[in-house]
């Protein structure tokens, strides 16, 4: 505590940058896959989900970090769950009051943020042992890293599966007239896994550090 670290020091920025790429929660740590499969059929729910996860994650991280010296280790998992669950309910209530349409679209998946392993994983691994500001940056980075993949996956799934983006038709009707058809498989959950797999493949072929040495 002797020296004040600048807010956006290289170390802190790294906390945001790394989860977007080389330690991405979905493609590298393979966490939070379940929700990534469920809500990436269309772009819009994926974006709102990203925003909700960002809100839940940053606030829970900061809260846990502030309480880190008071939380008895024996019940820390319970405390983390309570904080996350509280945040999720708050987000859900606020969405229902101020963004009713969107909250209807996300339906169960908002509640399922509670079970998103990324959030608890970061609380346990980072926020419990670090000060609030780095915890905030770490949470933000991981939530963005998660959201980035959601948005990429849902972009391809909506485009190829429904021919739309954000609900607007982008594949021109003339394509359909000459025999182009939407890929129904894209709408189904297994394709999300395959798209995530392709992203992991692309990422690994570009970044050899991620490839395990035998």
């Amino acid at each position: 505590m002797s020296e004040r670290e600048p807010l956006f020091s290289a170390k802190n920025l790294k906390l945001i940058r790394e989860p977007l790429g080389s330690s991405n929660p979905i493609t590298v740590q393979v966490l939070g896959i379940c929700s990534a499969l469920a809500i990436t059929v269309q772009l819009k729910p994926a974006i709102v989900m990203t925003l909700s996860v960002i809100a839940v994650m940053t606030v829970s991280s900061v809260v846990i970090s502030l309480l880190r010296k008071m939380i008895p280790p024996r019940i820390r998992i319970i405390v983390q769950l309570v904080v996350i669950a509280t945040m999720v309910i708050l987000v859900d209530e606020v969405l229902q009051a101020f963004a009713y349409e969107v909250s209807k679209q996300l339906s169960v998946f908002v509640g399922l943020i509670i079970t998103n392993c990324i959030i608890m994983g970061r609380l346990e691994a980072f926020a419990l042992a670090n000060k609030p500001w780095p915890s905030f940056m770490d949470a933000l980075g991981n939530a963005f890293g998660y959201g980035l993949i959601l948005i990429i996956v849902s972009f391809f799934r909506e485009l190829l599966g429904s021919g739309t983006l954000m609900g607007y038709q982008v594949v021109p009707n003339s394509f359909y007239e000459v025999g182009y058809a939407n890929n129904g498989l894209m709408v189904l959950p297994p394709m999300a896994l395959i798209v995530v797999g392709v992203i992991i493949w692309v990422q690994r072929s570009r970044n050899n550090d991620l490839v395990e040495q035998n």
Binding site: A38, I39, V41, Q42, P45, M70, I71, P72, P73, R74, I75, I78, V79, V82, T86, I89, L90, E93, V94, Q96, A97, F98, Y100, K104, Q105, S107, V108, G161, S162, G184, V187, L188
Partner: protein, 244 residues
Amino acid sequence: MKSYSNTYIFIFSVIMVVVVAVLLSFVAMQLKPLQDLNQEIERKEDILASVGEAEDVSDVKDKNAFIEQEFEKYIADSYVVDFNGETVDRDAFEVTLNIKVQADKPAEERLYPVFVYTAESGAHKYIVPVRGKGLWGPIWGYMAFEPDMNTIAGAIFDHSKETPGLGAEINTSWFEEEFIGKKIFNEEGDFVSIGVLKNAETANNPHAVDAISGGTITSDGLDDMLEDYLVGYMAHFKEKGTEN
């Protein structure tokens, strides 16, 4: 790592739970009126949408006021009937708001609200709410009928938990538009409802629409919902259809 006494852990948990409970109840109480209002507006919007009114609200600044005003303007009359077609002295909108209570009862005991839409030309359409079960949760909708009480003039469906892209497609216009012009009575005048079928030859079949690929259970639920809920209106519809 510091060790904590059981007393500390106990007190910590109690304080944490109390703080969280107070916070959540406070927020829930504060937001409740807004959430209820959203629901009321949504019902009104859906009722209007089933007859093709107030569909585009993207340009409207105060959506709530706009919907209220349009609802007042077009839905001049409403009433509630029972299974036997007798009029019941209840507020139709209030019954619709609490339709869950009705849907949980057997068809014979439910109250059935009817909203009368009056177009600018003076023509009437009759809107009824329906509610049933999808795959993950409830589904509901509003069906608008022409004055013959047989031909569907419009339909709006919605759901709370169906899977996006699959069952959730029931609230998209391509699906809802399939219902327009379909008939719920066959030529002998018997109630046949509307089937939500796979590969329905919809062009030739006036009593069926195409189901949603990948949303089979939701489609089946919708099929059941229509049959189960509309049957309760039959006594009233038959009477009203002859009257009109």
